[in-house]
């Protein structure tokens, strides 16, 4: 193969095609750099956790595996919860949000209140997304929100809750086998919705026992149930002792939990908001964020931490006391790691499935709690434990870092696509954009011109029209007449200048022209034409 010489390369670089190629290369290089800079922020691998699809100790693969083993479809949303609007059977769907690690990207929007334009959206999810989640619950869907210091505040606001955003230290229920970051949330009865409602265990099909015979309604008359008969409540069946656990209480193990704001998590029957799990009275919220428990007098001292009890598990039902099994529900727990493998799957931890740990967590009820709420949401109340074929659990991965290469970039692009086709302000902008695009194409996009030879030499000429007026003046005509007289008489300029007026008159020998030469006045057009005619004929006589 011939190697191009240096001069050849130089010539090519100086040629139009070479310059164009270099310019194009620089353009795409710049574009690539810009793109990689933007995409790089998403490509950078960070620690992935609380993902239902991760297998690490801080992911939720065990929870997802349990659900799958029960015959429920599991899937995820990587773009935006706006897609919840598209779900056809929300009553058979549970949407799990575990740890909201990223804030939303959104456009300013018009609001119905006095501010008219809402420039900044709430934390975590955009208003449209929160509306979509809220509508999902209204349509009978179930959501589970597990978060502590993340961006769940916007979604919690929608349900009248407020995440404090501070770590909770409980001097009573912290786990001494682990450390103070691990706190037990002991719930005697997870179905005592209000002080007046009493235990409403019948709202959960796994422990609904109308005749109070210690056997759940769906297992009435069955001595040793099969797995099919147990359905979504199989986690309560101990196959070794052949007993069914009817305990309505839960001992939940939390890791670095937070708590709800005191004022905003009170029992409110009107809003169907039921705080169920509380910290002890000796729990403190690290409101001064010093990372230490600073005890003051009833938490009123300046700089001291706020003292409990604090609501940590709140349940919201569309129906009063969650009586209607088909109505929507929302579960809020102030710990994002409630379902992570290291706490949820104690057996797996002991068997080393998630690596070696210095300390292993005690057996807890996190799994039972989680699977109970799945059963409550998806199990039919028709007297057996069957589930709908549409039953599904959707994990929100849109706010998690993705482990795969370019996964976050893909998520971002997908989010933008979903956002622009679901949020009405974004849709409006997109319609405008499409309109402008079509206008641009119709106006600016022209097909290449058909080639045609044009012969074009006859349409231009050159002349000096500025001098025409000058040549119409009497003085110029007079000068030309005198030059003519001088030429005809073969006189030099000097001789002619020295000529007496009388001699000049004799030479001209025309009274009209003599008058024209010597008289300084304005001439009409007709007079001028007459004079020129006389000059033309003069000298030919």
């Amino acid at each position: 193969m011939a190697v191009p010489s240096l001069s050849g390369v130089g010539n090519w670089l100086r040629s139009p095609s070479g310059k164009r190629m270099v310019a194009l290369s620089l353009f795409y290089l710049t574009l690539g750099l810009l793109f990689s800079t933007v995409a790089g922020t998403y490509i950078t691998r960070s620690e992935v956790h609380q993902s239902a699809y991760g297998e690490d100790w801080n992911d939720m693969s065990a929870f997802r595996a349990d659900i799958k083993n029960q015959g429920i479809t599991t899937t995820s949303i990587v773009s935006s919860p706006l897609l919840l609007e598209e779900i056809q059977s929300p009553r058979d769907t549970v949407f799990v949000v575990s740890g909201i690690e990223r804030d939303t990207i959104s456009l300013p929007r018009f609001s119905a209140d006095s501010s008219v334009i809402q420039l900044v959206e709430g934390l975590g999810y955009s208003t449209s997304e929160i509306d979509a989640i809220s509508n999902f619950v209204e349509r009978g869907g179930t959501i589970v929100v597990l978060d502590d210091f993340g961006y769940a505040q916007g979604l919690a606001d929608e349900f009248g809750l407020g995440f404090s955003g501070h770590q909770l230290y409980d001097t009573q229920t912290w786990d001494p086998d682990l450390d103070f970051n691990y706190v037990w949330l002991n719930i005697t009865n997870g179905f005592n919705y209000s002080t007046s409602s009493g235990s409403r265990t019948n709202t959960n099909p796994c422990i609904a026992d109308e005749d109070s015979d210690g056997t759940p309604d769906f297992l009435e008359g069955i001595v040793v149930p099969t797995t099919e008969e147990l359905g979504l409540c199989s986690h309560r069946w101990d196959s070794i002792s052949a007993t069914y656990n009817m305990d309505p209480g839960y001992d939940l193990l939390l890791n670095q939990p937070s708590a709800f704001d005191k004022g905003e998590a009170g029992e409110n029957s009107d809003d169907n908001l039921y705080p169920i799990g509380f910290s002890t009275q000796d729990a403190y919220l690290d409101t001064n964020n010093d990372g230490k428990l600073t005890v003051g007098f009833s938490g009123t001292d300046a700089g001291s931490d706020e003292q409990g009890p604090f609501a940590m598990y709140v349940k919201y039902c569309r129906s009063r006391n969650c009586d209607n099994p088909d109505s929507g529900r929302a579960y809020f727990v102030t710990d994002g790691s409630l379902l992570v493998n290291s706490i949820y799957d104690t057996e797996g931890v002991e068997s080393g499935a998630y690596g070696e740990f210095n300390k292993t967590p005690d057996i807890n009820d996190n799994r039972r709690w989680a699977l109970d709420l799945i059963a409550e949401a998806l199990m039919s109340n028709d007297g057996n434990a069957s589930i709908s074929s549409d039953a599904q659990v959707i994990f929100d991965e849109s706010r998690h870092q993705q482990p795969s290469f370019m996964g976050d970039t893909y998520n971002l692009l997908y989010y933008i696509l979903i956002y622009f086709t679901n949020d009405w302000m974004a849709m409006l902008l997109m319609f405008l954009g499409l309109f402008v695009l079509f206008e641009f194409i119709i106006i600016k996009k022209l097909d290449p011109e058909p080639w045609r030879h044009v012969f074009s030499i006859i349409y231009y000429g050159y002349g000096d029209s500025r001098r025409y007026e000058y040549y119409g003046r009497a003085n110029k005509i007079k000068q030309i007449l005198l030059t003519r007289v001088r030429n005809v008489n073969s006189l030099t300029r000097e001789e002619f200048d020295a000529l007496p007026a009388r001699d000049l008159q004799k030479m001209v020998d025309d009274p009209v022209l003599i008058k024209f030469i010597f008289e300084d006045r304005r001439y009409s057009m007709e007079e001028m034409i007459a004079v020129i005619k006389r000059i033309k004929t003069w000298g030919r006589r």
Partner: protein, 417 residues
């Protein structure tokens, strides 16, 4: 490049997908995806412009007004079809398409060849280049088009027309003006024997007549007759002002025709012709005769363009040492806008040159493009008449050349002086 059709199809497809997503309308999305897919597939099966083109011209040099026959042979050396291929031979705008088309739309199969033939008329002198060949290829659905060039050019020269002026009354006072190259009865460098004379120091040895030396014992040399021809000098005014008029009819255009015709006439008569063109600078071709000189003169005249404002006196001063004694000097100029014309011609005439001024009437050329008021026109004509009269007064032979008068007729009008 995307065509408008492709752009609308693409934008429509994307819009359908997006609007389908907004409205949760699956059919709409399917249509949109189909549009986009159609575009994508067609973008992969476009044609190509990898062709070989050979252009053949009937002549490389021709005279103004002649026809030029052009043939393009186009071959597709590739193993793929070209699809819709448009081929356009870029022809200078100054040339007129007389028959045929310099454009063709073809779909060439592998190895196929086709030809494009067309005839051009060249109404304007000059140096031209035909080409490059523009190529545009499209896909079958006219969704994408690509343009490229085949950098194949053919250069040609269009000489000014040469008129027959045999019958014109062109005269020179020098005796060889009429007879072409003949020997003068004076010694000098030449080919024909003139006489013998005694050797003088400095004579080249090759002219020594050795036979005479052997016979007489004295060094005798052969003297030859001088091959004397008339040196005709043609000065062409190519200043910016000489473009007054239309592109085809202006003092410079008719001046180049006159210069070419005069050169042709004198070279045919075996006289030596020199050409000086002055515009912003002076270009000079030394006197010479023969076809080569004729070609040089025509090429030079083909390339002149109006520019600059070099005065005539600067030209005559610069050439004064090159003018042969007594040789005729033709000055082809409109005599506009140059205050040195009269002194320059007076000097030339004073040095014994026969000065013939062929002056295209710029005022009348200007009338072809401008509406000159009658009064101004008459005054301009009077002024020009004064100028010509003054030049004639210095012994120059002045020809006032009107636009509608043939060169041979104009030359017959030499009556001044």
């Amino acid at each position: 490049m995307w065509t408008r059709k492709a752009s609308i199809l693409g934008a429509g497809g994307v819009s359908l997908v997006l609007v389908g997503m907004m409205m949760s309308n699956f059919q709409m999305m399917v249509f949109g995806v189909a549009f986009v897919a159609f575009l994508a597939v067609n973008s992969w099966i476009t044609g190509h412009g990898d062709i070989q083109v050979v252009r053949t011209l009937s002549a490389d040099n021709l005279y103004k007004g002649d026809d030029l026959y052009v043939e393009l042979e186009i071959t597709n050396p590739s193993w793929r079809r070209t699809q819709q291929l448009e081929i356009y031979d870029n022809v200078p705008h100054e040339m007129k398409l007389r028959s045929g088309l310099n454009y063709m739309r073809v779909n060439l199969g592998p190895g196929e060849t086709t030809r494009v033939r067309y005839v051009l008329r060249c109404p304007l002198r000059g140096h031209y280049s035909i080409g490059p060949i523009s190529i545009r290829y499209r896909d079958s659905f006219n969704l994408f088009s690509q343009e490229m060039y085949v950098d194949h050019r053919s250069d040609l020269i269009v000489f000014p027309q040469v008129r027959e002026i045999e019958e014109a009354m062109v005269r020179s006072r020098t005796p060889k003006m009429y007879t072409g190259a003949t020997t003068l009865r004076t010694p000098g460098p030449g080919t024909e024997f003139f006489s013998l004379r005694e050797y003088v120091p400095g004579d080249p040895f090759k002219i020594i007549n050795w036979k005479a030396f052997a016979r007489t014992g004295q060094l005798i040399v052969n003297e030859k007759c001088r091959d004397a021809v008339t040196d005709v000098f043609i000065l062409v005014d190519s200043r910016d002002i000489s473009r007054i008029g239309t592109v085809l009819k202006n003092p410079l255009e008719v001046g180049t025709v006159a210069a070419a015709s005069l050169a042709s006439y004198f070279i045919k008569r075996r006289d030596s012709v020199a050409l000086a063109v002055y515009d912003e600078r002076l270009s000079f071709l030394s006197p010479d005769t023969g076809d080569k000189q004729y070609f040089k003169i025509l090429s030079s005249l083909a390339g002149v363009a109006p520019k600059g404002a070099m005065p005539l006196q600067a030209v005559t001063n610069a050439l004064s040492s090159r003018f042969s004694r007594g040789s005729p000097v033709f000055i082809i100029s409109a005599l506009e806008g140059d205050g040195t014309t009269i002194p320059a011609i007076r000097d030339l005439a004073g040095r014994g040159h026969e000065v013939i001024i062929l002056s295209p009437s710029s005022v009348d050329f200007e009338r072809l493009v401008s509406r000159i008021p009658r009064t101004s026109y008459e005054v301009l004509k009077l002024e020009r008449q004064n100028r010509l009269t003054a030049l004639a007064g210095f012994g120059a032979r002045v020809i006032d050349w009107m636009p509608d008068v043939e060169l041979s007729q104009a030359l017959l009008q030499v009556k001044m002086g």
